[in-house]
């Protein structure tokens, strides 16, 4: 993966339609995602942001009655038609959810979960991975003396950083984040944003956000969704300074949503 240049596409979504039963929730989406870029997805609630991001690691398959057409090419392979190895896909495309969702286990076991299910048993290697991931999310100093304490005892912001650490343990190349700070206070939010700045050196990031400032602060590209359609996808500076579509401008300037 390191041999690829930034212009190459890690994801290339083509003409994607998605139905919940009879309800068309994504309409003919064409969406390239480039290596080592941060792509922000904005739009009013119910426009399909979560739905879209969940197609990229096929978490959408958890929901019964979902049908899709079109292509989602990941590293040149259509994960909708070819027989995909879901385990491999999700190891490579990690996900962080709206609300921190640690397992009701110790801090250590939470972070060790991914490596363990993928077959790693050696205590020493696990210890190293756990320390490294917790350092990466700037949580190590806060928890290193209580790794065996329950993860549910951490604050909301700490829980979210723990979940990011947990997602990093499988060494993904893409990180999907669905409104990762919407349940957090401003201080925890800015910590997570700082973290995203650091992570963008090493990871391709797709982040859904309700917060326009957040999108303009952290992202290289911004995509605007409206009622299941991708209205605009361009450089973040361009989208926020001179959007191509009137509806994007209306949304950004707070005229609706």
């Amino acid at each position: 993966m390191s041999t690829l240049t930034t212009t190459e596409r890690v994801f290339d979504v083509k003409d994607l339609n998605l139905w919940y039963g009879d309800n068309l929730a994504l309409k003919s989406i064409n969406f390239p995602i480039h290596y080592n870029e941060v792509t922000a997805i904005i739009g009013p609630s119910g426009c399909g942001k979560s739905t879209f991001i969940k197609t990229l690691n096929l978490m959408i398959n958890m929901i019964p009655g979902v049908k899709m057409s079109g292509e989602i090419n990941y590293r040149g392979k259509n994960i909708l038609s070819d027989k995909v190895d879901l385990v491999e896909l999700r190891k490579n495309v990690g996900m962080v959810f709206q609300k921190g969702n640690p397992f009701p286990q110790s801090i250590y076991d939470n972070v060790a979960y991914g490596p363990r299910i993928h077959g790693l048993k050696k205590k020493q290697e696990l210890d190293e991975i756990i320390e490294k991931s917790l350092i990466d999310v700037a949580l190590w100093d806060e928890v290193k003396d209580r790794l065996n304490a329950p993860a549910m005892g951490l604050s909301g912001g700490q829980q979210q950083r723990l979940c990011i650490a947990r997602a990093l343990t499988t060494k993904p190349e893409v990180l999907l984040m669905d409104e990762p700070t919407s349940a957090l206070d401003p201080i925890s939010t800015s910590k997570i944003e700082e973290l995203i700045f650091e992570l963008k050196e090493k990871y391709t990031i797709v982040i859904v956000t309700h917060n326009m400032q957040q999108a303009s602060r952290v992202s290289d590209k911004t995509a605007f969704f409206l009622m299941g359609e991708l209205i605009e996808l361009d450089d973040t500076t361009k989208v926020f300074s001179q959007p191509y579509d009137q509806r994007t401008e209306d949304y950004i300037s707070g005229r609706f949503g």
Binding site: L86, V87, R90, K91, N101, F103, R116, I117, T170
Partner: protein, 306 residues
């Protein structure tokens, strides 16, 4: 007319009438609570005083009562009051039936919530409700007419046995275990499943490594409630277990439990006699055990993780 009443008075009046309704409701629910507490305390005191008479009035050693294996209360020369075989029988059928019902019930719960949530519940839920609705005597009757001959012919012994009692009880407590376990699994947040699957875990890994541990205190509660039911069941067990006074030496031997001995003998012993008092002592043991089950359940619910 109404309008001429000053606002202040109207307010006070309406407040008063509301307070009346409030007070009446309060009295009603307080009375219900008091009656419940009174009934429980009364039963406990009655059973306690009756049950202890065996030891205080009749001078039987409590140690002998609990540990001796010789039960012969009608022996005119030297009556013996060792209830250990029945205590053992009660614990044996309880633990054995829990051993059968726990994996089946929890397995069924996982099937309904995780494997086939759409149709699994539709099929199994009515089955469970049906199992709950069947009266004990019918379970006993079916056990007696089908299971007893089946065990006699295919496994050995008389057919009346610990094993037969265990099977009947397992089926009887299965709905309790399954429905509580199902609630436990269904109430786990979807975020847990998502968190695990998003890391590349398979569904089975998610069930085994995240969901079952997260639900474990409630799953154990389900099993303990099943055990409490098994421990207290009398009628169906009595019809299939054989009701002998001796300690069983294998699972196909006939046996007896505290409850079956009480139901069998309470009719033909005279109130106040030693034998009748020993039955009360067994009742007291049952009550103590049900308190113990409650303590275990309270301990487990304090350890709930989600």
């Amino acid at each position: 007319m109404e309008k001429s009443v000053p606002a202040k008075e109207r307010l006070i009046k309406s407040k008063n009438s509301r307070m009346n309704g409030e007070a009446r409701g309060r009295m009603l629910v307080t009375a219900s609570a008091l009656i419940m507490i009174f009934a429980t305390v009364a039963i406990t005191i009655f059973l306690g005083s009756k049950g202890l008479q065996t030891f205080t009035k009749n001078g039987i050693s409590p140690i002998e009562f609990i540990t001796s294996t010789k039960w012969d209360p009608t022996n005119a020369e030297s009556p013996l009051y060792g209830a250990f075989p029945f205590i053992f029988g009660s614990f044996a059928v309880t633990f054995l039936s829990a051993l059968v019902a726990a994996p089946l019930g929890i397995g069924g719960a996982i099937f309904m919530t995780e494997i086939a949530p759409s149709w699994g519940r539709k099929v199994l839920q009515p089955v469970i409700e049906l199992l709950v609705g069947i009266p004990s005597v019918v379970y006993g009757f079916i056990g007696l007419s089908v299971l007893v001959p089946f065990i006699r012919e295919n496994v050995g012994g008389l057919g009346f046995s610990l094993l037969t009692g265990t099977i009947v009880l397992s089926i009887m407590i299965l709905p309790t275990v399954t429905s509580i376990a199902t609630d436990a699994m269904a109430s786990l947040p979807t975020a847990l499943r998502e968190g695990s699957l998003a890391l590349g875990a398979t569904r089975w890994q998610t069930i085994r490594k995240v969901l079952i541990p997260a639900a474990s205190p409630t799953l154990l509660t389900a099993v303990v409630l099943g055990m409490a039911r098994a421990f207290g069941e009398a009628l169906a067990v009595q019809m299939v277990i054989g009701n002998v006074r001796t300690l069983p030496s294998s699972i196909i031997d006939a046996s007896a439990t505290l409850t079956t001995i009480i139901t069998l003998n309470m009719g033909h012993t005279t109130y106040g006699s030693i034998e009748n008092n020993t039955l009360w002592s067994m009742g007291l043991l049952l009550l103590i055990m049900s308190f113990a089950f409650i303590l275990v359940i309270r301990y487990l619910s304090a350890r709930r993780k989600i």
